[in-house]
Structure formats: C-alpha cells, structure tokens
Symmetry: C2
Subunit: 350 residues, 2 copies
C-alpha cells in the first residue's frame, strides 16, 4: 500500500486539551456543494437607531453616555442574574440541579458601528484589551469563571453589527474550562511543565501551522482544530495564566496579532469574516491569586464557521453532533491558505 500522507489520507487527531478526537478527511475536499448557502456578510448601512451607539436609548430605557472608546453596560436580557433563589439540594444522580449565579455584560469596542477589529487602530484595540483586563479583575474577585466572548456576524447569532463583545461571569466553572482545568493539571503533574507552553514551543519549531507571529504571540491553526479556519493565540513569553497577568508589551502585541489575524480572515473570502472568539485562562474567584495556576496558559480561541466561501459554511450536524467532529481540509492546509492572504485589508487596498 501507499505511504501515509496527512494531506490525502483520512486519520483521527487527538485534542489533549479537550480529551477528544477529530476525524480529518482531506480527500473529501473534492465534494461539491449544492446545499444551503448563507447570506453574504454585508456592510449594513449604519442604523441611526442602533441601541449600542453613543447617546442611544436602549430597550431597558437606559441611555448610553456619549462614549468615545469602549463602553460596558449590563446585558438587558441576561442569561445569568446575580440574585436568584437556590434550587433545593437533589440527591438523585439522574436529576441533579445546582445553583447558578452570575452576571452578563455587553462591551462596545468603538463608537462607530462600521468598525471591526481588523479595521481598528492598535491603540483602539489596546483600549479594548485594557477594558477586558479591568472587567476580569473586577468580576474575577467574585466569580469562578469570567467568559469574555465575541459573536461576530449574523451567522453567529449576533443581532447587531456594532463592534461589541459579551462578558458572562458565573459562580460555576463551565464544562469547557472544567475539562481544560483537568487535562492541563494532569499534564503538569506528569511533565512538570504547562501543556500549552510545550505545545507553543513545538509549534514555533515545526512552523507548519503558524498563521502570523510577533515578538509576544503566535497564531496557529491548532493541530486538533475542528472548524475549517479555527485559530488559537498563544503567548510566547512569561507564561501568563490570565488576561490580568499581561504586561504592556504583551497587551500591545496582542492588539497587533488580533488585528493581523483578522485582516487575513477578512481577506480569505473578501468579507467581514464571522466567528465566535474568546479567552480561556485560569479560573478566578475569591480563593484564587495571581500565579496560583502554573498548569494554565492564557490563550484566545477563534471559531469561524466558513468553509469554502463567504456563503458556504461547515455544518456541524448529524455525525458531528452524535459521534465526532469531522473536517475536510487539514489544519496545515488551512494555516497555509491564511498565511498566503495579504497583510493589508482588502478595504484599504490602493
């Protein structure tokens, strides 16, 4: 039989962070697509009634200040409230309910509704990162987990094109970070080094999956990526465990690499690239202190759904929901395509 070629022959890859496998079927890239297509992410004309604008009145009746940088306010329809009664204790192993307290906030990135991260200046993105850090500092004192995430694009359930993210803080450690807490701890006990520190170093050596890099951060398509153009930002120096551990150089370089990655994303299919992105770092809460989680390495995750064009996404459906994630092009092929994209945003050309 032929020699194994990862770009031609199906295989499964292991994600040590999530303790899960992904099926990689590169030969399937040839499959034609005749199914549902999405509306192309379009430049919507700015809506003067947009409730996220400076000075606008929101559905709660509250009025935004005339902000000129970032602006944070409580989500008017929060999934998590701070004050709710606790459910009674349940001892039936099949019907377990537990208490959940929390708070949900919305954070505008910029006063201009037509802005996005790839089009913002480094200083403007720095303001966003500084505010993330403040939010984590404040909410992390009380809450076990503070999830900062951006849903970008209508296809990602984002109902407002104004550049913004959400911050959901909870009294419980959610599933995804709970698993990462376990896997990183197990690795640390075994190897005495943080898993993602080792991973980052090997990615810097192998160079196969790097999209962009600067002095402080590297963006890779993870070896175990499930979304076609998934990416992970990893800090190169100093092993920060949480966003609050970043020094000024790391913050500035984070702004730089976020912008660079998002420019490549937008250039790939010449559209405002939709994604959900967010940060994962060590858990927080009253019992936590800086430096207490050496098994953790802070990282950002980008999960974009597009597969072939601005209008054809990867459907994570039957097999993926019931059995296992499956991808067509390999992470190395995805990284190369992104690497080859221009560093100048298509809207700023000529």
């Amino acid at each position: 039989m032929q020699e194994f070629k990862p770009t031609e022959h199906q295989h499964v890859r292991y994600n040590p962070l999530k303790d899960e496998w992904v099926l990689v079927s590169p030969h399937r890239c040839l499959r034609p697509w005749s199914g549902q297509t999405e509306a192309a992410p379009e430049d919507q004309p700015p809506d003067p009634q947009n409730p996220l604008l400076p000075g606008a009145t929101r559905s709660s009746g509250q009025r935004n200040p005339v902000y000129d940088s970032t602006y944070v306010f409580p989500n008017d329809f929060p999934a998590l409230l701070e004050r709710v009664p606790d459910p009674p204790p349940s001892d039936n192993p099949l019907f377990r309910t537990s208490s959940a307290k929390g708070t949900c906030r919305v954070m505008c990135f910029h006063p201009d509704s037509t802005m996005t991260i790839p089009l913002m200046s480094i200083d403007e993105i720095m303001a966003v990162i500084n505010e993330w850090t403040n939010q984590l500092q404040e909410l992390g004192r009380r809450y076990t987990w503070v999830q900062i995430f951006e849903n970008k694009g209508a296809i990602m359930g984002c109902s407002n094109p104004h550049p913004h993210c959400q911050i959901w803080a909870s009294s419980y450690l959610p599933n995804e970070p709970r698993v990462k807490e376990r896997t990183q701890k197990e690795y640390y006990i075994k190897f005495k080094r943080p898993m993602l520190g080792d991973y980052m170093k090997q990615e810097l050596e192998k160079k196969e999956r790097i999209v962009v890099q600067n002095a402080e951060w590297v963006a890779v398509v993870p070896y175990w990526a499930i979304w076609p153009y998934e990416a992970m930002l990893l800090p190169i120096n100093g092993r920060p465990q949480r966003l609050t551990d970043l020094n000024d150089a790391q913050k500035k370089a984070l702004a730089d690499i976020m912008k660079k990655l998002c420019i490549k994303y937008d250039n790939l299919f010449k559209c405002s690239f939709p994604y959900s992105m967010g940060f994962h770092g060590a858990p927080t809460g009253p019992s936590k202190a800086p430096g207490d989680s050496p098994h953790w390495l802070l990282h950002a995750i980008y999960l974009p759904p597009l597969l072939r064009s601005a209008t054809v996404k990867k459907f994570m459906v039957g097999y993926e929901m019931l059995a296992q994630s499956q991808r067509d092009l390999t992470p190395e092929q995805a990284a190369q395509k992104l690497r080859e994209c221009d560093d100048v945003h298509y809207k700023n050309k000529k």
Copy 2:
C-alpha cells in the same frame, strides 16, 4: 428571598450520560429577537433530476435501481474510506494521530421525494427500521461503531430533500459514544442497573417531560436537554442494547412513536421540522456479542435547532462553544408545548 421555581429561576442541570452541565435561564424567554432568520423550510417542487430518485444516475455515474421501498448505496463523497494507509505511530502526547478506517452509506427511506417520516405509513417506516437493523448487523461485524443519522432540512446541512439518512461505520469509537460507554459503565458498576433503564422508569413516573408514549417506547425531552425541543426515545421493556436486539413488537412501536413525535414536531411551527437524529446503542465489532453490554440501553436522539418559529433557531455560539450550553425554556415547558400539539399532521387536516 422567594422560593425556587425551575420555570422562573436560572439553574444548572447535570447530564449524567455526557458528564456535562447545561445552564437553564427560563427568565430569558422574554428576550426579543432581531437577528438572523432562516429561510422557512419549504415544500420544494420535486426535482426530476434528483440523484436519489429510483432510476436516477448519480454523480458517480452509477444508476439507482427502480426501488419501491428503501435503497442503500455507498456515499459518493465519503468522509471514511475502507482502504487507506495507516499513519506512523506517534509518541508525542501533543501531536497524536491515529488510524481511521470506515465506510459511509446513504439510505433512501422512500421512492417519493416529497415524503417524510411523519407522512409515511407505519409499514413504510417499519421497512426503514428493518433496513437499519440489517445495516447494523452487517457493518457491526467489522466496525466498532455504526452511526445511523438523519440530517433533515437545509438548515441542518442537508442538501437534498429526498427522505434519506446516512450510515457512517468506523474502526474507532467516536467521542460521544466513548463518553456514554464510560458513564453508563460507571453507573452500572455502582448501582447494578443500566442508567437509562432507571432514567426511563423515573420519567414514566414523573410524567413531566413525556411527549408521547406507546406500549414499547417513551419520547421525553431529557431533563438535561440542550436544544429547545430535543427529544430522546427510550424502550420501555426488555432492555435492548442495540437496534439488532429489537423484536417485532418493539420495531412496530418504534415506527409508531417516530411518526407520532415527528407529527408533533411538524405541527409545532407548521413546517417540516428540521433536526439531526440518530441512534446510540452498545458498540459493535468482531469481539462483541448480543447481550454483552448490560450497562447500555439503546436510544434515539432528536436534535432540532428551531427555537421560536419556523425561521428563528437557537444559536449555539460564543458562550455555548467556549463555556457551556445554555437554554431558555425549560425541558418541562418544551415537553408540554409538544404534548399539546395535535396528533394529526397539519397537512392531513380536513
């Protein structure tokens, strides 16, 4: 403070099968929706060129027989092939690749492209179930896992409205059943009874989450459901571990409950209700034999995306992808809404 009411107060619920939690935020049902809507699932006019029709020529050049019941053929763009070279052994814990062999088949349910399960007769659905059993029998001899699944509707990535499902058989045990194998085994060792047998009995007693029921099966919205109208079919008698364990009465009653559940689904928003569905039973393969997995109970799972109407779905995005699944209406509320739907399909009324 007030007394805890599960229909009013947020809480988390535990899924013992997946060892995961879901955030339930019933107060959020009030949230208005102004974001992306989907094309309503419409009755497409039958396409005379449809490659799934009896007698049609498929893209592979192969011609379908003039079948009059079910028809199974190899997927022309399979994610899994039977003969591929093995990847070399990898001992780096961060870059693990493993071999994956398999086969993918497509199975037409009916010769008529306008048919769907809720509109088919019990005998026609019985033919589908019998063919599923044959397929599992044959593929299960060689393969560790045989995933039977139906992606229904364009919103679920299904590119052809002709009633059909897929069967992907693999040499590896995929993530989802791997976790269920572990959790059910742990429960069985502890309680000496199958987890889902205990669960089914308690659901029959509590009656809060039952959608429909017959002598052999019960359809519930699971206590830990993540999709708004998720459902699970559980066998009431005899503890079948795999589809191949079902007797004739169980098969006939399965056809009956599938039809009844899908009629309620279609009646909920007066549309052909999209979903991904599939079966989970004990793993297969050369070393397996009937009755060898008493910790398993065969079950079917329905994962429908719609939330509020034929055009507004639940987006599983930022928080869900990065932290934890979240739902608005409670499983009990969803079960009640489905229960209250008519038992006669809206297309067959008067």
